[in-house]
């Protein structure tokens, strides 16, 4: 148990650091809008609400678990760093715009076309490398849904020639914060076709699969350049494996960018094209997985990454086991307090502060009303007695009636039920009173 605790605290620390490094990336469930960024903010805030009141108390205990959690709580909020990066991105793109020396934004039409019919070719032929870079900018500019967009496109783009379309559509993602940025990028990309090929060619060739490093913006730009060139190359070469036959071509002939590029010397039949599209999709997803799994950034190659992913999934599953075992040993004595904590967690987003149990007065300095706490306890006692359990008085319950045993879950549900029944109530205290009156009758 101790070993697992230490392991978990270690992992927490790792995850904290990775979160600090990658605050702006949002992987999605592939059809949901959940994002790891949200998760990050969520855990931090949940942790805040749980632990900030006990800050002074908990720091004395020198529990590595607690300290890890408090360090997680105290880690800087993701949104701050994300907004900082946004600012830097806009500066960078502003600089790029100055280079091209013209600011006419005619990309509205292209964006619209990309929205409506992703299968149509864009009206302008830009350098796909720069378009990809623009896509990466918008991806990494924070609060974006690269996975969702790419997945949405994968439904459209199956087996067809529109990989470049996919990148362009990705650059015109519907995020409001980034729409201006992406428009600028597309305009810039439009105006710099020639200069781009030069830039691209001069990028030093690295491995076929290089991971983007999200550390700083400059590093990002460089990494994205490398990443795009490598993605280009991998697209051409058709395989992402570390095999010897992956000699990248020096200069890609500027073909028609609507179709998938055919590798020089390889047959351009539909099979290999489709296969290449499939591999490209797989490598995209692997990149997202890389960002999701901590410690996977420095790793290149599919096999090692899959190793890490497998380890991570196994560790998460083991943690679930361990935590459920730990929760099953919870002492039923402090169930009432746990209920209030849970109700607090439930109603966080609605801004309703819970009413703590009166016995927790010293530990929860945030807003509580002792009278309401008492009323809450009475409500709890009454509901549980209504459910047919022999529940002694509230005082006796808190003092630790051993017969309460394993019915702590029922208390949990009772309060949650009360809360859910009234979850639309604006004022928590206002809603508890009628419920209590009803029950007592």
């Amino acid at each position: 148990m101790e070993k697992d605790k230490a392991f978990m605290s270690e992992e927490l620390k790792n995850r904290t650091t990775t979160r600090q490094q990658q605050p702006a990336w949002n992987p999605c469930g592939f059809m949901t809008e959940m994002s790891a960024n949200e998760l990050n903010c969520g855990t931090e805030q949940v942790g805040n609400y749980f632990f900030n009141p006990n800050w002074d108390n908990s720091m004395d205990q020198s529990d590595p678990f607690e300290s890890a959690l408090s360090s997680m709580v105290s880690s800087p909020a993701a949104s701050n760093v994300g907004s900082g990066e946004n600012v830097m991105m806009r500066e960078l793109i502003g600089r790029l715009g100055n280079i091209c020396n013209s600011k006419d934004i005619i990309t509205n039409s292209t964006n619209v076309s990309c929205y409506s019919t992703p299968l149509n070719s864009p009206p302008f032929s830009t350098d796909p490398g720069f378009a990809e870079r623009a896509a990466r900018f918008s991806c990494f500019g924070g609060l974006n849904d690269p996975l969702r967009d790419s997945l949405k496109l994968s439904g459209h783009v199956n087996g067809s020639q529109t990989i470049n379309n996919s990148t362009l559509s990705r650059s015109s993602s519907p995020e409001n914060a980034e729409s201006g940025v992406s428009k600028e990028e597309s305009s810039v990309s439009e105006q710099l076709p020639g200069g781009n090929t030069k830039k691209r060619k001069s990028i030093p060739r690295g491995k076929a699969k290089e991971t983007p490093s999200p550390a700083t913006v400059d590093a990002k730009v460089a990494a994205e350049n490398n990443d795009e060139s490598n993605a280009k190359r991998s697209k051409q070469n058709g395989t992402v494996k570390a095999s010897n036959k992956e000699d990248s071509k020096p200069a890609e002939p500027p073909k028609d960018y609507i179709h998938v590029r055919a590798r020089r010397g390889q047959a351009t039949d539909s099979h290999s094209l489709a296969e290449r599209v499939r591999r490209e999709k797989i490598s995209e997803r692997m990149k997202f997985l890389q960002d999701l799994v901590p410690g996977c950034n420095k790793v290149t190659g599919k096999a090692v990454m899959l190793d890490e992913i497998i380890n991570y999934v196994q560790s998460l599953q083991r943690q679930v086991e361990f935590l459920s075992m730990k929760l099953s040993t919870v002492n039923p004595r402090m169930d009432v307090n746990m209920e209030t904590l849970l109700s607090k967690d439930m109603f966080q987003s609605r801004g309703l502060l819970p009413h703590t149990v009166y016995s927790m007065e010293p530990t929860f300095p945030f807003g509580y009303q002792p009278q309401q706490g008492l009323a809450l306890n009475n409500g709890i006692a009454n509901t549980t007695s209504q459910q047919g359990f022999q529940l002694p008085q509230v005082n006796g319950f808190i003092d630790g009636n051993p017969q309460v045993g394993s019915i702590w879950e029922d208390d949990l549900q009772s309060i949650v039920q009360m809360g859910f029944g009234q979850n639309q109530a604006q004022c928590y205290q206002g809603s508890i009173a009628p419920g209590q009156v009803k029950i007592e009758l």
């Binding site: 949901t32 749980f50 997985l289 549900q413």
Partner: protein, 188 residues
């Protein structure tokens, strides 16, 4: 965009509902039974929070109510009346044959795989085929880890893994917060 807490709230809500539903009449369950109940309700809650969109969630629920499962009655109690179980109707037939996950599969060492390939045939010792073998073995292990993974091909496997990892993380976060909070409260 959903609120930041949406996944965790969903999970917590369903978890508590599930716990309530399988509240047993006997007051003293053994600790292992309690753990089983907690874990099963948590898993089912996380899976149902996805509302049947992902393959792994459907497979998890299908596996829980499979005929040969020992805790089938428990899972059915957690899931509630049959009218609420819409996601399970979409389960493909093949997923019903899914068995329990293999918890800790040993990852084959790269050296052993290479040695084996070299022994088999000299032609197969080309680096590309070795890499293919390595990656394939790991894919197999990943498939065994993710519920319903045997029925996924390359791309969907990785998508499912992504979603599964996110859900697992949310689950672990919520459970850990609960455990720590209860521990803190206990100490006071």
């Amino acid at each position: 965009m959903r609120s930041p807490f949406s996944l965790k709230q969903e999970f917590l809500k369903k978890w508590i509902l599930g716990l309530q539903r399988c509240r047993s009449s006997k007051k003293n369950m053994s600790i292992f039974e309690r753990k089983k109940v907690i874990k099963l309700s948590a898993d089912v809650a996380v899976a149902s929070a996805r509302k049947g969109i992902t393959c792994w969630s459907r497979a998890l629920i299908a596996d829980a109510v499979k005929e040969g499962n020992a805790d089938k009655h428990l899972a059915e109690k957690i899931l509630g009346p049959a009218s609420e179980r819409q996601p399970t109707e979409k389960v493909p037939v093949g997923a019903m044959a899914y068995n329990k996950r293999i918890r800790s599969k040993k990852i084959p060492k790269r050296g052993s795989v290479i040695r084996r390939t070299i022994k088999c045939a000299p032609q197969a010792a080309r680096p590309s085929s070795i890499v293919k073998r390595l990656v394939g073995k790991r894919r197999q292990i990943l498939r065994s880890l993710i519920p319903g993974g045997e029925f996924m091909n390359g791309v969907s496997l990785i998508e499912e893994t992504l979603d599964y990892i996110i859900s697992l993380r949310a689950q672990v976060d919520v459970m850990r917060s609960l455990a720590s909070a209860s521990k803190l409260v206990n100490l006071n």
